[in-house]
Subunit: 260 residues, 2 copies
């Protein structure tokens, strides 16, 4: 996901189309409710229809697109305030636990269980420093905790934030938990656009608190720090969310159904 590991994996055209479309959705180039034409996308990206279809099918099962069987794909609408709260409630169930588990385990989990089993404990491969966490992992975590400079793009902050949370999830040692957390991310990503630039600093402080607790192997502290971070983050997003809603109360109904 990040540049930490080179990804020499093959990229088919379907993968290309998938990342391209996902990126467009994430940066709101494709607004919620927009209609996606298969033919149009194929011509626009200079691909054939087949890889486009594959990419759209994947995005649909991820929940970013809706498919109406003989009418085409549309971008899912933004979450309502209630759904947004529900999503944060779920995060509060999962992510603090992930932080705790990350702090509990000194061993790194490289998301390859099979790889771990083949490494006898005490091997010289993974250098574990005094803090219990391998130096490389600790550095990666600290790097992910940092937010970009204030002058940078909102999108950069958005991605950095997602990266930190995914890093913690990966360090939890539970591939299942990490996957469950990552699944929530896609929808959330759209709402990260409603962040206030002032809160970038606060976010970094809270991220660092979580990272420190994990590196210092303090499970309860890590759990609590993550919980607090999520609570504050929810409040920040909610405030900006409401503000944006009142600013432009016209969600721009592309063409209201001629429903009388």
């Amino acid at each position: 996901m990040t540049a930490t590991s080179a990804t020499p994996e093959k990229r088919t055209l379907a993968d290309e189309a998938y990342t391209e479309l996902k990126s467009r959705i994430m940066r709101s180039e494709l607004a919620p409710g927009a209609k996606l034409s298969i033919d149009g996308l194929a011509k626009q990206l200079a691909f054939s229809q087949t890889p486009i279809r594959e990419a759209l099918a994947r995005l649909e099962s991820e929940g970013l697109l809706a498919r109406r069987p003989l009418s085409g794909y549309t971008v899912e609408p933004l979450l309502s305030a209630a759904e947004f709260d529900d999503l944060f409630e779920i995060r509060m169930m999962l992510e603090p636990r992930a932080a705790r588990r990350a702090a509990e385990r000194g061993t790194p989990e490289i998301r390859e269980p099979a790889l771990l089993r083949s490494i006898p404990p005490g091997d010289g491969l993974a250098q574990v420093d005094a803090s219990g966490l391998p130096a490389a992992e600790a550095n990666a975590l600290l790097a992910a905790a940092r937010t970009p400079d204030a002058g940078s793009d909102k999108l950069e902050f958005t991605e950095a934030d997602a990266r930190f949370h995914n890093t913690v999830a990966a360090l939890s040692g539970s591939a299942q938990l990490a996957k469950a957390i990552r699944r929530l991310d896609a929808h959330l990503h759209l709402h990260r656009a409603y962040i206030e630039p002032d809160s970038i600093g606060e976010t970094e402080v809270e991220h660092l608190a979580v990272a420190d607790a994990i590196i210092g192997q303090q499970p309860l502290a890590a759990e609590e720090a993550m919980r607090r971070h999520l609570e504050r983050s929810r409040i920040r997003h909610r405030a900006a969310f409401e503000a944006a809603r009142t600013t432009e109360p016209t969600p721009k109904p592309k063409r209201a159904k001629a429903n009388r």
Copy 2:
């Protein structure tokens, strides 16, 4: 998913292929590790390649299949014991909360938020009985809690169990939470095959305890009942899981890689 609501939605060939393949995976007709050839499936199902591709792409992003870019699709292997425990740990975070929320709300959530908003409170549409839960919902919940007769197929029990948990999740009133729970289901389904026939009765008792607490609007009791059910269910599955593992210790490596 079930027959409770008529689904007059259009079914394309891609949908057909998707459900067919998913069904085959669920009933282990397609064993973990098996290779799926697009050409082969197209000929076998008498479809074209295009709908098969779409179905495979969806199944892959659901986590049931793995895709190696120029080598084809394979069925994901069964979860290891550790991953299995991790999955139950996640269920224990989410499902008791869902049960609690279902008990808290007297109002039914028909998984259509837009539909709810259009119904003024106190309307004659939803008849709420003394228990606070609409009679129809209460009956559906009780029906879902029941397990099939002992003589029936193992697959039937498996599906009934999944149906109950999904019903509770839907009643939670949080579409996000329901979706998150349902996402876990796919992987778990494969392991429900390891259930002992003796435990069907126990499962039904525990399901009814959860259902009663929800209908009686006792949030804490519902939460606790669900938690206890999951704990016991986990123990039951684990026991059968280990037994199966020792019975046939040969996972039948189709063809070991000529790795030296």
